[in-house]
Symmetry: C2
Subunit: 398 residues, 2 copies
């Protein structure tokens, strides 16, 4: 089921006021809903940075910037919302940060929810060796060829090599960034980020125009970990942020993997240490990775989660899903005919399927498969809000 408009606006506003990963907010959310928290903060919240920022917040400006950058705000309940992020709610904090994001700013033509189902994240050193970059690119390319989406940051070194490897194999990738989705950080990756957005997504917890900070990088790592079934660390020196991503992956119950390298290489120190200490499993190729994230016959957290998703569909929903066309759209009447179900039930099932990312309404009123829609997802979602020409600020009553 979709979130209410009020909830959407409260999440958007709160996310502009509270730094990502704030555990105080996560604690408040255990008792109060986002609308309550935002309303209280906006009107008579306790003095402090949050209230000051809340009072200074110009939501209209935020949404204008977002529209200009073609960024959409995705929240829990949206078809594009990755269900896997829910695992962050129960994950232990890392460095006193954690929690589920209030929402995600997404830019790009990819459908974030379906893309990140069973994705693999490939992360590692900025100052990677030619060996590391080659392995990252080949691993990501092979993942793409198997239809497995690659998630990473957008840094120099392993991150960039992973995106490039997947893109070169006609795959689409998700770049989770620490600044706004319009920020090219580093600047030299402007074109790479454009390429990523062309078929995949750029994702951030902070609004368009915001700059990355050290904290935001570290808190961003939890999204990379949670948005994938497993994290592969290709190269990382002793004090690399990749260790932090590994900690998040462990906290989320994800598979942590590491690629070995020459023992003479400083950038293989962290992968070797993680493997040696049993915190990561050694992987050398995509088969090793897929075997771990989709084990046959063995129940792994990720597999459980997938199982739950499929099992959660009723027989009726499954029948409707089967009646969707592989390409293009089909109108609800025809789906009703094919599924042998009355139209109202078909409509209810379609809405449920759309929420889970299995189906999506097309702009012409017909319905298509979620992950293989025949037109860019971004248009549909951006078009669905702001509604009726009013700015987000106006809608929220500002």
């Amino acid at each position: 089921m979709s979130a209410t408009h009020e909830e959407r606006m409260a999440r958007l506003a709160l996310s502009c006021v509270v730094e990502p990963g704030d555990l105080q907010l996560a604690q408040l959310l255990e008792t109060y809903c986002v609308e309550e928290i935002w309303e209280r903060l906006r009107q008579d919240g306790p003095p402090g940075a949050w209230r000051n920022r809340a009072h200074a917040l110009n939501l209209e400006h935020v949404t204008q910037q977002a529209q200009k950058a073609a960024a959409r705000f995705v929240i829990p309940g949206d078809a594009q919302w990755p269900a896997a992020l829910g695992d962050l709610a129960a994950a232990d904090p890392v460095r006193d940060w954690g929690g589920t994001p209030l929402g995600l700013w997404v830019k790009g033509n990819g459908a974030l929810g379906p893309m990140t189902r069973d994705a693999v994240s490939v992360v590692g050193a900025r100052a990677a060796s030619p060996y590391g970059e080659r392995v990252a690119a080949e691993l990501a390319g092979a993942a793409a060829e198997r239809g497995c989406c690659v998630v990473s940051g957008a840094a120099y070194g392993i991150d960039a090599a992973a995106h490039r490897g997947a893109l070169a194999s006609q795959g689409s990738t998700v770049a989770v960034v620490a600044g706004g989705v319009d920020e090219a950080y580093p600047r030299a990756h402007r074109r790479l980020l454009d390429d990523i957005a062309e078929s995949g997504c750029i994702v951030s917890e902070v609004r368009v125009g915001e700059h990355p900070t050290r904290r935001r990088f570290l808190v961003r790592n939890r999204l990379i970990a949670a948005l994938s079934a497993g994290t592969v660390i290709v190269e990382a020196s002793l004090r690399s942020g990749a260790r932090n991503t590994a900690s998040w992956a462990t906290a989320c119950g994800r598979v942590v993997m590491a690629v070995p390298g020459p023992v003479t290489s400083a950038t293989s120190v962290t992968p070797h240490r993680l493997i040696r200490e049993g915190e990561a499993t050694l992987v050398t190729c995509i088969d090793d990775v897929l075997e771990l994230i989709h084990p046959l016959g063995e129940v792994m957290p990720q597999r459980e989660r997938r199982g739950r998703l499929l099992d959660s569909l009723s027989d009726q929903a499954k029948a409707v899903f089967e009646a969707l066309p592989l390409r293009g759209g089909r109108d609800a009447g025809e789906i009703s005919l094919r599924a042998g179900m009355p139209l109202p039930e078909v409509m209810a099932a379609l809405v449920g399927l759309a929420d889970a990312g299995w189906a999506r309404p097309l702009s012409d009123g017909r319905w298509g498969l979620g992950p293989t829609s025949d037109r860019p997802v971004a248009e549909a979602d951006t078009a669905s809000y702001p509604e009726s020409g009013r700015s987000l600020g106006e809608q929220a009553g500002f």
Copy 2:
């Protein structure tokens, strides 16, 4: 306590007649002593290869060859006998072979028993990469600097690199070979083997003059595994014999370690697989190795064994051991004075200490520390048999 002359001769003769690792013999030894088995075989054994070989055996020739090659035959109960080999008795067979050796042919100036206490074996591919040879040499060199003896085969590649690395760091090594200790196999390693014998040992289960066979290589691997507290596999391709050594090490309750390398390297396939499958622990340097074979505060099989050895010493034996000089020798009277013990008790303790490798009688009648004797061990041991100018054959009554 030392073995009887009859047992020594029976072991020597049997080892010339039965192929190493024969489980039938191991089974017989559970019921009969070696003297019984040999006597029965020599006189009226059941027809077959063993009896045929027993009847054809010319022990005089065997011992003449051994003397010429400066090889000594070491058996359980000798000071030089490595107590660790006892673990082979309980080890599960690998490829239907196994068991404790009847004796070992040893060539070289090293004291095998003390040398192999807490040794580390370094094994791997014949067709090693320059990376693998460099890592093996550095690891063995670092082991030698820490006073840790290196055990390996004598093959091209990792074996040779390990010996060379240790020798270059003034360490002494043990080469366990599949043919006779005088065989240079490969021939190009004649000089390397001479260098090994200079300060360490060349060890074999088969008599001087025998050639290596495929079976002998595989059965030899159990000695490499058992003679060290842990085995490090540096490089090995998919079908390398190093996997066999790893299996033996596991069967003997030893620590199995593997050095990672580039995932693009065929010679790192087996180390990576062993690590990935939990059969080996990843190591990158000598500190990693020593931490595993001498863990602090954790009881490991090897540590237990060492503990047993030390604990097996009585308080009196410990007092005598403390009274031994760090260098050179001390006569029993002076040791008696220093230990504050009567001479007969000191003598009994010294014999016990010599059996366990902690002390050794010097040629001038004085006693020294076992592993740090002031003259080559080989002289003392070779001199102790054959006795009184008679050949071994004569002594055995042939």
